[in-house]
């Protein structure tokens, strides 16, 4: 039996409370002797070594007051090597210590260095991957930011052109000239002949018509350009949300305040357009983890959709109503926005979250896609339901806590 104990592939030591070793097997010498040696110990007292390489284990042993029993069960202990070829490396031992009687302890330890090193390598690889991923996201984020800025600049330039052509075109001057000639048609006819006077009026009419046609073309073109810019901005928003969602730490957001702020921003719109708005908030604070700006963007978008919906009701005399209800449930928070607007049929409902699909004449079909992406990035869901065309709609956002 002793020879089996001697040969088993894990370290076994029997020592007294002072650490003096009375028995040890081959593996224990193999593993511990280099440690004893590197710290200048003879190798016959385990406490001397533990005091230096694993004081925590020694403390647990010293503090154990019961007459016998298990003191430490499979505690992992990393120990730095201070000499030999592996200097600077660590070994990892799994310690179990039992008290046999008042003055007798057994130390059992297994060498799990290989496993420990593999774990360390895996951890390092995961860390490297995460860093690489983060760098990629940072580059992507910077790129999106730069493109976004360029697009905003381009949009401002187009707006300037639009304003300029509306203010500085010659149509009104030509109209004035035409009016003057028409008023003095008889006198001009008398001076240069009626035919020539009529020809001037016709020419002016033609020039004015051409100018108006050109202006209409330019207006259409600018509107198209603005739509394209808006489309690009929506795409950038979605991409930003995707990139941001991967590495931005989420802060605590009070949903009650956020919803209140979104409603305040639209209060004027409700009033101007004769919309009756009602808000139902629970008492107290409703916190979720998230990005306040993005969430604000979601609720403004959803509320604007409801405004748009009630402004396109078939019967203009019906009272336009929007209602927002914030509620708390078991492990979740829900925000419901109800309107009595134009609603939609089942077929339309099925396509509402499809990229590029829109029911608005000037929509990009990206607003709801963007909202969905942001909400899902906050561990939430969004659904949009309607009893049918002309029967209003309900948007339900649920955040799972």
């Amino acid at each position: 039996m002793l020879s089996i104990i001697y040969q088993i592939p894990m370290g076994l030591i029997e020592a007294d409370m002072e650490g003096s070793i009375t028995s040890m097997n081959a593996k224990s010498v193999q593993l511990l002797m280099p440690l004893f040696y590197s710290h200048g110990f003879r190798g016959n007292n385990i406490n001397e070594l533990l005091q230096v390489v694993a004081p925590d284990i020694l403390e647990q042993v010293s503090n154990f007051t019961r007459p016998n029993g298990n003191i430490i069960k499979q505690q992992r202990q990393e120990i730095a090597l201070q000499s030999g070829r592996d200097e600077g490396n660590e070994i990892c031992l799994l310690f179990t210590v039992d008290k046999l009687d008042a003055n007798s302890l057994t130390y059992i330890f297994d060498d799990v260095t290989e496993l420990y090193n593999k774990e360390k390598q895996l951890k390092q690889m995961m860390q490297d991957n995460a860093t690489e991923q983060l760098n990629k996201f940072e580059i992507a984020s910077g790129l999106l930011h730069d493109i976004g800025n360029a697009v905003v600049g381009f949009g401002s330039y187009i707006t300037k052109i639009k304003r300029s052509i509306e203010q500085k075109n010659d149509i009104s001057s030509l109209d004035n000239l035409k009016g003057f000639i028409e008023k003095n048609q008889a006198a001009i006819g008398g001076a240069i002949g009626e035919k020539k006077a009529n020809a001037i009026t016709d020419l002016l009419n033609g020039v004015i018509a051409n100018q108006e046609n050109n202006l209409t073309d330019v207006r259409t073109s600018i509107t198209d350009q603005m739509k394209i810019i808006s489309h690009i901005q929506e795409i950038l928003n979605i991409q930003r949300q995707y990139v941001k969602g991967h590495y931005i730490e989420r802060a605590s957001v009070n949903l009650r305040d956020l919803v209140n702020d979104a409603v305040s921003m639209l209060a004027n719109t409700f009033e101007k357009r004769g919309i009756s708005f009602s808000l139902e908030l629970p008492a107290g604070i409703v916190h979720i983890k998230g990005d306040r700006t993005k969430l604000m963007q979601v609720f403004l978008n959803l509320l604007k959709n409801s405004v748009d919906s009630v402004m396109h009701m078939a019967d203009e005399n019906t009272l336009k109503q929007i209602r927002l209800i914030l509620g708390r449930g078991e492990g979740k928070v829900a925000v419901r926005i109800q309107d009595n607007g134009k609603g939609f049929d089942q077929a339309t409902g099925a396509k509402l979250f499809t990229r590029g699909y829109t029911t608005k004449t000037e929509g990009t079909g990206l607003g709801l896609v963007n909202c969905k992406s942001i909400i899902e990035g906050h561990n939430g869901t969004i659904t949009l339901t309607s009893a049918g065309e002309g029967k209003g709609a309900t948007c339900t956002v649920i955040f799972y806590l």
């Binding site: 002793l2 020879s3 104990i5 001697y6 040969q7 076994l12 029997e14 070793i21 009375t22 028995s23 040890m24 097997n25 081959a26 593996k27 224990s28 010498v29 193999q30 593993l31 002797m33 280099p34 004893f36 040696y37 003879r42 190798g43 016959n44 030999g84 070829r85 592996d86």
Partner: protein, 119 residues
Amino acid sequence: MSLTFNDPSLLQWLDTHSESDYDKLPFGVVKMDYEGVVAAYSRGQSKISGVTKENAKGKNFFTQIAPCTNNFMVAERYKDITLDETLPYMFTYITKPTPVTLRLIKGGNGSQYLLAKNA
């Protein structure tokens, strides 16, 4: 016999003598090939380790006879091209810790030696 444990000419003597001569020395001698397979195991070594000659010969010293030496302090030192070094160590007589002094010597003719004496 006037040879001592620290004698600088010990390698030459060991290379030219046999196990029966090693038995007369006041310290233990293990003769191995470069793989660690035991060719000779002196009586003095048996006294220190508790392992008999018959049990030791033909087996790998570092993995089968004295796995306690299978580390960078002892076994791995024999990977050096030349070696003659003395160090304190701990043997276990079955399981009883026995402080020893080891002298590790590597010869040039395919043999290497481990000498041991009680500290």
